[in-house]
Symmetry: C2
Subunit: 456 residues, 2 copies
């Protein structure tokens, strides 16, 4: 039996003198063996009864551990059969130099705020759209194309953004990009051409965006965010990057007064509409772009709704910026891949995007409800914020908690999560965790909250 | 019959006082009606006999015109049936701001040097690879990935480049890019980080590359090319972009002495291996990268072999540049689309890339032979150069010819071709046309050379 050595290792890993329950230790040990290669995909694990005997623990400890890591996607438990290591562990290799996670090895649970559920990716629909597009698209569409991106997608997407987000969108003003990052970068480069030097960002906000703005040759300045969002009266920059519908990562919604003030401000507003598709408790907040299309650059992406690996996003720019953006695009990569763009156009046109969003919105909402309920119950000294939308919430820790230490302890349990300070330009002593539930399946929520309860 | 109005327009377009043969005028008129929308795809054209009667021309004029534009892909002629306008006209919309073609409207014949035959794109193989990859890739591969690009493609491609190009390639040193342009841009940005300020380019060379280098913040300086390629003794820059195997666009092969001198030169060499896959008369020239992997950045692409719309390329960089390149990549677009990359890995692994190259190499070689033969016969006052490789040749015009005027006259006939001066930083009075045959099917060659003969 191939798992003898692994069983021995599991046995060695259990330490009755540690404060963690044996169940949690066993889960960690099995996951470690899987990511370490000791239990390759397809390996049959011992039945819970026999493993319990080998390890001198109760059978309940093993079954609960199996159930938990099955919920997390590590193994597959079939009734009456031995559990099998899955070929699809959350083996997330983000060894990007700018990724700030403290978890170096593959995490057991990924609670990163920007991570969507990859198992929900509509593989069949995407494959079918690609097949159809490849069968039908004219040869000419396989050539270099308009640097603003595929015509068909710009047409479909403009209509979609008008319908779903009330945006002021026409195909001419849309630029298809290789994801949100490139949209932001291109907009910044076009602004720099016009003499811009400083871009304000919300503090806290997504840290990767700071590097992108700097890479475009602009200075990043932070403006504090409170419960009403960013305060436009404190802006001293040529442009500002905002997440008005659901501030990342605090979840604040920009108040009506501040929306007005922001629109009255003289600079360019870069509107990151990163998670408007997932709004649970009321109608989505309208876009700023609709109210001032001549001063707002609207940025969207499929990374939260479909998968980051598509690298497909878009921007809607004021007419006087579009030409410069197209020129920059041509110079840096000669435009984007047309087949993918056209396949996404097809997903919109056939209603598949809407269907997918209805399915995933319901799923994420249920996760959010379960997670909020468990956090409120098990961590009464913490406060849960920013739950109206998106794939993450903010768990404010009791004053005086050492945020870094909590993140580090979770990392030791191979739980990847970021503290709020990760996203702050000016670190503050207001400890909080930014908890994403995009990768937290419903059955895994209870165990995750147990781990948080143990750690905080 | 839907073509009555069109027939009238064709009739109006024929002008017996013009020097062009009626056949050529008719071809132009039909193509103009197709691109203008007067003859939408699927329209049945009149039988040659009846059109000849309507137009008061001989039936032979109409049949020859039909045959020619059928060869060019505009219409489909089936025996015994009326010709039908094809859904796949060469409706090439390259309205990029930096594209320098003089043909504003859709060209009838595209003799651009960088244009591969899009009808040869292996749609079925690509669709099958995408389907397979989508069925098999783990969820984790749908996430953000390594900014150097998909692991599997880097592994397959490194082995491929070792085998086919003798490159010194390992997966760690490879970066998958969104095409050649992005590879060049990233390499330039990484060089700029190290203090580089000037990049030398061959004069003449691909004009789009100049914009890309400048966009990365570096100055472009030209170094003249002669029949032995670029002269390294004249280099005064931090890096140089070269096409040593088949200089673009003159076709010169860098001489052994100059290869040695270039490798002994102190700067970084950016080696654009744009068309090594298509070499006809002898073994491919080896890469410079193999001889000096610590000083050469090797750049490759699928745009010449498969299709520009894939936006898939790669670079092999010295180890001390790879990290900076990955960081730049992460900042500007967070990496590339993984599904496409993995599909290409599959095409390499299954031998489909090799098969495709064997097929297309044979086809392009036959075109080249026919084209060179016809040019030599019909334009004896011109010289044909640079025919050993690639998808283009250089047609040197008789001294004193006004190159611009020839290009303009061809444009009036809606033939898209660039003069050599398009590619020169310092224009010269050595008139030549850079003629691509990637989009020139064998049956269309005779007509194309007729047009050149009429024009030059």
């Amino acid at each position: 039996m191939p798992t003898n050595r692994a069983t021995l290792e599991l046995f060695a890993a259990l330490d009755r003198s540690r404060p963690e329950p044996l169940r949690a230790q066993l889960e960690d040990a099995i996951c470690a063996a899987i990511t370490g290669g000791g239990l390759p995909p397809g390996t049959r694990l011992p039945a819970s009864r026999s493993l319990a005997e080998s390890l001198h623990v109760s059978r309940g400890v093993v079954s609960e551990a199996y159930a938990q890591i099955a919920a997390e996607g590590w193994i597959e438990v079939r009734h009456g059969a031995a559990p099998v290591v899955r070929a699809v562990p959350a083996n997330i290799k983000r060894d990007s130099p700018s990724l700030c996670s403290v978890v170096a090895e593959a995490p057991r649970l990924d609670l990163t705020a920007t991570a969507p559920d990859l198992s929900a990716f509509p593989r069949r629909a995407w494959a079918a759209a690609l097949r159809k597009v490849l069968a039908e698209m004219p040869d000419a569409a396989l050539d270099y194309g308009d640097p603003r991106g595929d015509d068909e997608l710009r047409t479909e997407l403009a209509a979609y953004l008008v319908r779903v987000r009330g945006a002021a969108a026409s195909p001419e003003d849309l630029v298809i990009t290789s994801g949100y990052t490139q949209g932001l970068w291109l907009a910044c480069r076009a602004l720099k051409r016009r003499g811009a030097t400083r871009v304000a960002v919300e503090d806290p906000s997504l840290d990767d965006a700071w590097g992108t703005i700097r890479s475009a040759g602009l200075e990043v300045v932070g403006v504090p965010v409170d419960e009403h969002g960013i305060d436009p009266s404190r802006l001293d920059a040529d442009a500002v990057l905002v997440t008005p519908a659901h501030q990342f990562p605090t979840g604040a919604v920009l108040s009506p007064e501040r929306r007005r003030a922001l629109l009255a401000w003289g600079g360019i507003v870069l509107e990151d509409d990163y998670d408007s598709e997932y709004r649970y408790d009321r109608a989505p907040v309208g876009t700023l772009q609709r109210l001032a299309p001549d001063r707002v650059v609207y940025l969207g992406t499929t990374s939260k709704t479909l998968a980051p690996a598509l690298r497909l996003g878009w921007l809607l720019a004021p007419k006087d910026l579009t030409e410069a953006i197209a020129q920059e695009r041509w110079a840096v990569d000669s435009g984007g891949p047309a087949i993918n763009a056209r396949a996404y156009a097809r997903l919109i046109a056939t209603g598949e995007v809407d269907r997918h969003l209805r399915r995933t919105r319901r799923e994420y909402r249920e996760r959010r409800d379960l997670l909020v309920e468990a956090l409120t119950r098990q961590l009464p000294s913490c406060t849960v914020d920013g739950v109206a939308a998106g794939l993450h919430l903010l768990l404010r820790l009791p004053p005086g908690t050492d945020e870094d230490a909590v993140v580090r302890r979770l990392a030791e349990r191979r739980i990847r999560v970021n503290g709020l300070n990760t996203y702050r330009l000016a670190p503050k002593d207001e400890p909080a965790l930014v908890i994403g539930y995009g990768r937290l399946s419903k059955p895994a929520i209870a165990g995750a909250v147990d781990q948080l309860e143990l750690t905080v």
